[in-house]
Amino acid sequence: MEINQRFLIFLFFSSFVWSSSSGQQKDFVTMPQLAISHDFNASVYAEFFQQAMFYENSSELWMNSSDIGAGIKLNKAFSTELHYRNITFKRQNNQFENRNLIYHTLTYQRKVGKLLLSIRNRTQQLSFAEHFNDNYRSPRWYDRVRLNLSYRYNYYWSCGANGELFFPLNNKDRTGLDQYRIGTSLTRRFNNRLSTAATYQIQQQVGRSGNNTFFVLGLQVNIQI
């Protein structure tokens, strides 16, 4: 039974990888991620993420980011987080650029039986480093809204589906929605301190001169210390 279950999961993700990587005008991206969190008490917690993304059919490093943040659970339903993320991003000229991202989230979640619904609003400011360079660009502000629905099958397994909308706040060329993401996730919890998650996400750019589509397969390890 256990083998069958694992085989089906493998088949599920393999089919996604195959279907996405066979379309060459679109790109298949892989994203390994390590997340470490610590609860100071029932309300306050801190998080650290290390994340890399490989593009061009997962053959080249695209971006690498380190994220540190703190969160407060306001009550059973609401929580808020503040994060700083440093990103090393590969531009089209194959040069790596340093970027800084600061974002704030406000999340509402509600549990109904084995279902967990969460709605997250994320406001972010992406600034491009090297302020005195010729190619300096002013910071970009975004508002992102994400809806996530997850189902806990048992203590060990849970799966979820999510969708996210990106709204640029200070881009005069893009006034409305400029990206949406839809994804699925499968999480395996080993104990209260360790879990892994496999995610598959379609990132679709819209309202731009070149609307790219990225098929992102993520593998995440979550550790609570």
């Binding site: 609860d39 029932a42 659970k73 009550n75 059973k76 104990n191 209260n192 301190r193």
Partner: protein
């Protein structure tokens, strides 16, 4: 044979459902039952005694009042309950069955995660007779229950320990002299 076994299990299931869980909280809530009157008869020492229990509920299925009447239809116990807007019990009043005066009041207090952190029992004059303080860990699991008597006098402390999957593995109760008065340990095989 399979059909027979299924029928047997089904029949036992119905029997237990009716016999043990005459009305569960969920059933009362889902059916929007406002009042329940249950009567039970028992033969004890050759005497047939009847007990009638009346319960009233609000629209959310929370019990508001409970009255118990004995053989002679005289009220022997009377309790009233009140809740906050989240449906959590905030007070439990024990009333004098004849006069209706408040005999004692138990109040419940919660943290922002809706976990009960304090309950107090006050007598009719408002003097606190009992105080129970409950602590939780970062995962919201109960870690310590401390019970006090009048005048903050420690009665007992019950501590809980959990394994890495969040299952309770130990519960130890100590008295005011720190002597273990009750201990329970549980082992799980995963």
């Amino acid at each position: 044979m399979m059909a027979y076994r299924f029928f047997l299990v089904f029949a036992i299931g119905i029997f237990f459902n009716n016999a043990i869980c005459a009305q569960t909280e969920a059933q009362i809530k889902s059916r929007k039952i406002r009042a329940v009157v249950s009567q039970s008869t028992e033969l004890k020492d050759g005497v047939l005694s009847t007990r009638t229990e009346c319960e009233w509920y609000d629209r959310k299925g929370n019990i508001l009042e409970r009255k118990i009447f004995n053989n002679d239809s005289i009220c022997s116990s009377w309790k009233k309950f009140s809740y906050n807007r989240k449906g959590l019990i905030v007070a439990d009043l024990t009333l004098n069955p004849t006069s209706g005066d408040v005999k004692s009041t138990r109040e419940f207090f919660y943290n922002r995660f809706d976990d009960e952190i304090l309950s107090t029992l006050k007598n009719s004059t408002g003097v606190e007779e009992e105080r129970i303080v409950t602590s939780y860990d970062a995962d919201g699991k109960k870690t310590l229950i401390t019970k006090y008597e009048t005048g903050e006098k420690l009665v007992s402390r019950t501590s809980f320990i959990y394994d890495n999957k969040g299952m309770m593995i130990s519960r130890i109760t100590r008295n005011s002299k720190d002597e273990v008065i009750s201990e329970k340990s549980i082992k799980y095989t995963y």
